[in-house]
């Protein structure tokens, strides 16, 4: 499984890749991945590469990812090239039309890439009093729902619960389910 997670500093991208790693480790798979540190906390683009199974290097190559998790619409546009033909794009986005029209729509149809838009900010505003820090776990819920990863909700729930700090645990599980059902 090769997953690329993209977004903006402060969105909890690194926590998401930690959850994926924990699940793979519990399944007895080898794990390797890479994250960008340093300048990213200040609102710059953040990218995390995740690979489970028999791989050597930590980076996913362009055209090779099974899934791209995009916490931000603009970062999705910039990083759609990571997806392999037949891959899945899960994107936090309030305007799905951007992925249907023009060169983007044509490319995605051409490569048979499935798009799963989640209006993350809208849902969090409405259902979790605008606490946007739960966006990451919501996207993980959508990942399970997309059926593109072979991950079960049981595995995901237990990994999220175990890795969450106590005070965020219940809200994380709530956000996970909001993402799953969205």
């Amino acid at each position: 499984m090769r997953i690329v997670i993209v977004g903006v500093g402060g969105q909890g991208i690194l926590f998401s890749s930690k959850v994926l790693g924990e699940i793979a480790l519990r399944r007895g798979e080898k794990v390797v991945g890479s994250e960008v540190h340093g300048m990213s906390q200040r609102g710059g683009s953040v990218i995390s590469h995740f690979k489970s199974g028999d791989h050597f290097g930590p980076l996913v190559q362009v055209g090779d990812a099974d899934v791209v998790l995009a916490f931000d619409t603009d970062e999705a546009i910039r990083n759609v090239s990571f997806l392999r033909p037949g891959g899945t794009l899960i994107v936090n986005c309030d305007d799905p039309a951007r992925f249907e029209a023009g060169a983007m729509g044509e490319y995605l149809r051409d490569k048979d890439i499935k798009v799963l838009p989640v209006d993350g900010y809208g849902i969090l505003r409405e259902r979790m009093r605008g606490r946007f820090l739960f966006l990451n776990v919501m996207i993980l819920g959508a990942l399970v729902a997309s059926d593109s990863s072979g991950l079960s909700m049981e595995d995901m729930e237990s990994a999220v619960a175990d890795l969450s700090p106590e005070r965020f645990r219940d809200d994380n599980l709530k956000a996970l389910n909001l993402g799953f059902e969205r």
């Binding site: 903006v8 402060g10 890749s17 930690k18 790693g21 924990e22 480790l25 080898k30 794990v31 390797v32 991945g33 890479s34 994250e35 960008v36 540190h37 340093g38 300048m39 990213s40 906390q41 200040r42 609102g43 710059g44 683009s45 995740f50 791989h55 050597f56 290097g57 930590p58 980076l59 996913v60 190559q61 362009v62 055209g63 090779d64 619409t73 603009d74 970062e75 546009i77 910039r78 759609v80 090239s81 951007r98 023009g102 060169a103 983007m104 490319y107 900010y121 605008g130 946007f132």
Partner: protein, 620 residues
């Protein structure tokens, strides 16, 4: 007992250091190396070792402390990033020539592609210059194993060894085997004999130089036999191409060959680039018609290959001269070397997509609520024409609000301001243009103090602004002499006062301000320059406000909104204040608050010249 855990590369290195029985570990933080020392502290706590874990005020300090521990016969380790090695280069070169008692390991993290650095330098070249052995890991697992072997080699030969991970090794996450056992060590002892063994002066060092060279050659022989780090991955079909790959490039090229299904390429992996096991390399080159060499960043291995006529590398332009060897680059090099035409059609499609949807370009900038932003805004507001020298640290990101004119390296703002002053002085213009130097609290202790003492002594007129956010923020929130906090649980430090240090350097005019208070601070900024210019000496302002991200400090709840009837769309708040919580609304041509990023600090109320940013009221 062993266990498998997913570790960051830096955690794997730290675990290796503790398992190796290292007694003293020191560092100054720097991306991509910053997580290593705190992880050493954490593992030391977990495993119950008595490892002494200390931040030095800078890399030279850190390395010299590790050297001292090694003089007392203990295994010790100093950690830094590649640019930090420049600061520590002085002790690094000297100690390289000495025969040591304890094993000394220096971990230097390189940053090919400059993800978080001002340059692309290759620390293996430093190892070559100093004639010390260097290990170049290709992943987290190997990095951990190499720490153990590096300590062993350093112990046996009495040399300083280098582990040189690159950013993709430091920041990879991988499942890694960890052990419970710690290599046992002898007690500290300072052996005075033979006389002069730890003295560096011409008369003494001459006798050591040949020994140093002999040890280096003996280690070359050991590396030739270290087949766990230097080995061949033969091709399954007759080889059309040979690849010599070092460090992370080895991991990258193996994935690509699997992906392409090529079975006609053989690889020679080199994990110990300095001193290069030349025999292995010559033999591999002899057996292949063409050899592509992949190493980051500089041609350190390539340059040691005696016959390069069949080698495709940097010297003949096959490999790009700069930048990171990411998978896309490596694949394109491989295909070209194999004579395969690359399919570039998708690239045109991606260009078209970006053109149509024009995603926002995100340059690094200060966090919402960051106290540096109003500090810089105030300086620029009072003196729009001031020359503002800055430094390497978060505050340098104020370049995005057009408030920073220069930066060189840590501590360089103070001395650059001195030089700028002298340049004007040389023209007889004296002080008509305000000069400011800005740096952080950690940077002040790193190497700002020496520049300040120099400026006081020589009577340089500028305002030094110390942006004290109580943490080393840029690298992820490490402590320093000013914070006084320490890494290991149960250890207490002492906080060194910046004000006292400033006064101790001879500064007569000093003011401590809260940067959030823009209106109130303008007068003081004016006075500081007035003092500096009329008395021909540095004046110092300390802007003190805790880092909003690293210290998880919530500002007072003062939500704001933009009054669209008052906003004239001048864009000053976007351009000069540049907070991610304020965004431009294309539709109305006015500013608005973005609730996804705004932290409700309310500081921007003082920014709008038309008073269009107004408090909203309400409780948290």
């Amino acid at each position: 007992m062993s266990e498998r855990r997913i570790l960051l590369g830096n955690e794997a290195i730290a675990r290796g250091v503790v398992e190796s029985g290292c007694a003293v570990a020191t560092a100054y933080p720097g991306t991509p190396s910053s997580e290593i020392l705190p992880a050493i502290a954490a593992y030391s706590d977990e495993m119950g070792t008595n490892t002494q874990v200390e931040w030095g005020a800078n890399e030279k300090v850190a390395l010299e402390m590790a050297i001292g521990a090694c003089y007392a016969g203990k295994r010790s380790c100093a950690v830094m990033k590649q640019v930090g090695l420049n600061v520590a280069a002085d002790p690094f070169m000297s100690v390289a020539h000495q025969k040591l008692d304890g094993g000394l390991l220096v971990v230097v993290s390189d940053d090919p592609g400059c993800h978080a650095s001002q340059d692309d330098q290759d620390s293996r070249a430093y190892a070559a210059a100093a004639k010390i052995p260097c290990f170049d890991p290709s992943d987290a697992r190997e990095a951990k194993a190499m720490v153990a072997d590096a300590f062993d080699l350093a112990d046996r030969y009495g040399v300083m060894a280098m582990l040189r991970p690159t950013v993709r090794v430091d920041h990879c996450r991988q499942d890694v085997e960890i052990m419970d056992d710690v290599v046992s060590q002898k007690d500290a002892v300072f052996d005075r004999k033979p006389a002069g063994k730890r003295i560096v002066m011409p008369a003494v060092i001459h006798g050591f130089l040949d020994d140093h060279s002999d040890r280096f050659e003996a280690i070359r022989g050991e590396f030739g036999a270290m087949d766990r780090y230097n080995f061949e991955v033969p091709s399954e079909e007759p080889a059309k191409l040979g690849v010599i790959a070092c460090g992370i490039s080895y991991s990258v090229v193996r994935d690509i060959l699997n992906r392409l299904g090529r079975k006609d390429v053989s690889i020679l992996k080199i994990g110990t680039p300095v001193p290069l096991p030349v025999n292995l390399v010559e033999d591999f080159v002899d057996r292949h018609d063409r050899v592509l060499i992949l190493e980051e960043t500089q041609p350190v291995v390539e340059g040691q290959i005696p016959n390069r006529t069949a080698v495709m590398g940097r010297w003949n332009g096959w490999v790009p001269k700069t930048g990171e060897l990411v998978p896309e680059v490596v694949e394109s090099l491989l295909l070209r070397a194999l004579g395969v035409e690359e399919d570039l059609s998708d690239r045109e499609v991606f260009n078209k997509i970006e053109e149509e949807l024009s995603p926002e370009k995100r340059r690094p900038r200060l966090c919402p609520g960051c106290s540096h932003r109003p500090a810089y805004f105030s300086i620029r507001k009072v003196f729009p024409d001031a020359v503002v020298a800055s430094d390497i640290g978060c505050y340098g990101l104020a370049i995005a609000q057009n408030a920073v004119d220069t930066n060189i390296c840590m501590g360089g703002s103070v001395t650059a301001a001195s030089g700028i002053y002298l340049a004007f002085k040389a023209d007889g213009k004296g002080t008509d243009r305000p000069i400011f130097a800005t740096l952080g609290d950690s940077t002040f202790f790193h190497s700002g103090m020496t520049g300040l003492a120099t400026a006081v002594y020589n009577r340089h007129a500028f305002v030094l602004v110390i942006l004290d956010n109580r943490i080393t923020a840029m690298t992820g929130g490490q402590d320093h002499p000013g914070t006084g906090d320490k890494m290991r649980s149960g250890e207490e430090g002492v906080s060194v006062s910046i004000e006292e240090a400033v006064k101790g350097c001879g500064v007569k005019w000093l003011s401590v301000l809260d940067p959030y208070d823009i209106e109130k601070n303008k007068k003081t900024i004016e006075k500081a320059w007035e003092h500096a210019s009329s008395n021909r000496e540095p004046a110092v302002i300390v802007f003190r406000h805790p880092c909003i991200t690293m210290l998880k400090v919530k500002p007072e709840y003062r939500p704001v909104k933009v009054d669209p009837s008052a906003c004239i769309g001048c864009g000053l708040c976007i351009r000069d204040f540049n907070c991610p919580g304020l965004v431009w609304d294309q539709a109305t041509g006015k500013a608005m608050v973005d609730d996804r990023y705004c932290v409700n600090c309310g500081v921007c109320v003082a920014v709008c010249p038309k008073g269009a940013i107004v408090p909203e009221g309400g409780d948290r």
